[in-house]
Amino acid sequence: MHVAADTEKCISSGHCAMAAPEVFDQDEETGIVRLRTDHPAAEHEAGVHDAAAVCPVLAITVSAERLG
């Protein structure tokens, strides 16, 4: 699975870091989303989908696997 976060859109709500702290973090200075990994382990898949669903500005996109 591949995950991307749009830092331009992000409003620092922290929802993603709450839903999947192993994958998402907030920048110390700005609160903007920071990915800990863009290829989360299978065990965090559910959390990543939750994060994408609760992000208020739809900044998180999940795809099966990036090809190429």
Partner: protein, 413 residues
């Protein structure tokens, strides 16, 4: 389906339901039946507001979410077509604005000045302070006379003390800012009264900012005064308005969640039992989200204007048309929440719209979560015999505000 057909003149021809609508007697915690009726009818319908305007009402969860996250809608209350809550809200908007009713880029510029102070990590550091405030107030309640009014003895002091601590506002002045805040959020406050209250509060905060500039302390107002005002990023009036938003925004809403939440639990004893018998933070956090969904206290709808034509849910919203998006029905949409009128603390309610959605989603929500988790995780365990001291039918609800709540909640134990 022709209820809201519009004639060639652009005027609404047949009868468009008036908004807001009354709640059913005996169901103070459920949204107005009229709104449920409209929700069953269509995702988008026309409503009539106090000034005769007929904006769209967005009834369903998925459409509310999609529109609130859509870059083609605006929150700027100076735009023509903006569906104002009341005459006094319109008058205040024309007087002074805060970033909650601004569009990007200015909205984002101002919000980003605050977001570092509201990250999960920063707010988590406040948890012991918040817990201490809650514990002290419960001690005070137990030591005081009973029955007691939970609103004035507990529900209002918790958020008041917390936001005063964060901002660096002296709590001694709470009677002043609680009174003026209440005037500002009541829909029926006369325009002159609301403007006077706004002026009083802005004047008060302006003086406080002056004191922070002279003697910066370790609080958010001092930090903003030094980092944003002194550097010219913001005018003194802008900072006073921003402080007003933070002070007013965090008061009644959180207090209503505490008082109304307690009422909801006392009238659902099986759910109250869940909180009475747990100290598991995961259970308490989940319960908090469900209470936020169930009560969705910021009533009366998010207010927006279409900036461009938007085709959605089988309708075309024209540029310049107003939108009203009430979370109290979005959060009771059975398409998302099976048996939506049942308070079920074990359900996953995280997609609720109680804090809004999109770029204006509540800035204070991490702080609210810490507050509510401390309250819901403490009050019912410390006072397991907590009970209403009056019949539920005797309670008076804040029908007149755009934040829903109960005026007094007499409790005993």
């Amino acid at each position: 389906m022709t209820r809201s057909s519009i004639g060639a003149s652009g005027r609404v021809e047949n009868d468009v339901p008036a908004f807001p609508m009354p709640r059913a007697k005996g169901c103070p915690l459920d949204p107005p039946p009229g709104l449920r009726g409209l929700q069953a009818e269509a995702p988008l319908v026309r409503i009539r507001l106090w000034d005769g305007s007929t904006p769209w009402l967005v009834t369903r969860h998925d459409v509310q979410r999609a529109l609130l996250a859509d870059e083609r809608i605006g929150s700027d209350s100076l735009l023509p077509g903006y569906p104002h809550v009341s005459e006094s809200f319109q008058a205040r908007a024309a007087d002074l604005q805060t970033f909650i009713t601004m569009d990007d880029p200015e909205h984002a510029r101002q919000r980003r000045m605050l977001s570092p102070s509201f990250t999960l990590r920063r707010i988590e550091q406040l948890r012991p302070t918040v817990q201490g405030i809650v514990d002290d107030l419960v001690d005070g309640l137990l030591a005081g006379p009973k029955p007691a009014d939970l609103v004035s003895a507990f529900a209002l002091p918790v958020p008041s003390l917390v936001i005063c601590h964060v901002l660096g506002v002296p709590y001694e002045d709470h009677e002043f800012f609680q009174r003026t805040s209440r005037l500002l959020i009541a829909r029926e406050t006369a325009a002159e009264t609301a403007l006077a209250a706004q002026m009083e509060l802005v004047g008060y905060l302006d003086q406080l900012i002056g004191r922070k500039l002279a003697e910066p302390a370790d609080d958010l107002l001092s930090q903003l005064a030094v980092e944003q005002l002194q550097t010219g990023q913001m005018s003194r009036q802008q900072l006073a308005m921003m402080s007003l938003l933070l002070l007013v925004g965090g008061h009644e809403t959180s207090a209503d969640m505490i008082a109304l939440g307690t009422l909801a639990l006392l009238t659902n004893p099986d759910q109250l039992a869940v909180l009475r018998h747990t100290d598991d933070p995961t259970v308490i956090a989940r319960a908090t989200e469900e209470l936020l969904r169930y009560l969705s206290v910021a009533h009366g709808g998010r207010r927006r204007v279409a900036l461009e034509d938007i085709e959605i849910a089988g309708e075309v919203i024209r540029a310049g048309e107003g939108l009203v998006l009430p979370s109290e029905i979005g959060d009771r949409d059975e398409r998302v929440y099976p048996r939506p009128d049942v308070l079920d603390l074990h359900r996953d309610a995280r997609q609720h719209l109680a804090f809004g959605f999109g770029i204006h989603q509540c800035l204070g929500q991490p702080l609210v979560r810490v507050e509510l988790q401390a309250v819901y995780g403490t009050l019912y365990r410390r006072i397991p015999t907590l009970a209403l001291a009056v019949e539920p039918s005797e309670l008076e609800f804040k029908e007149e505000g755009f934040v829903y709540g109960v005026h007094e909640l007499p409790v005993t134990w």
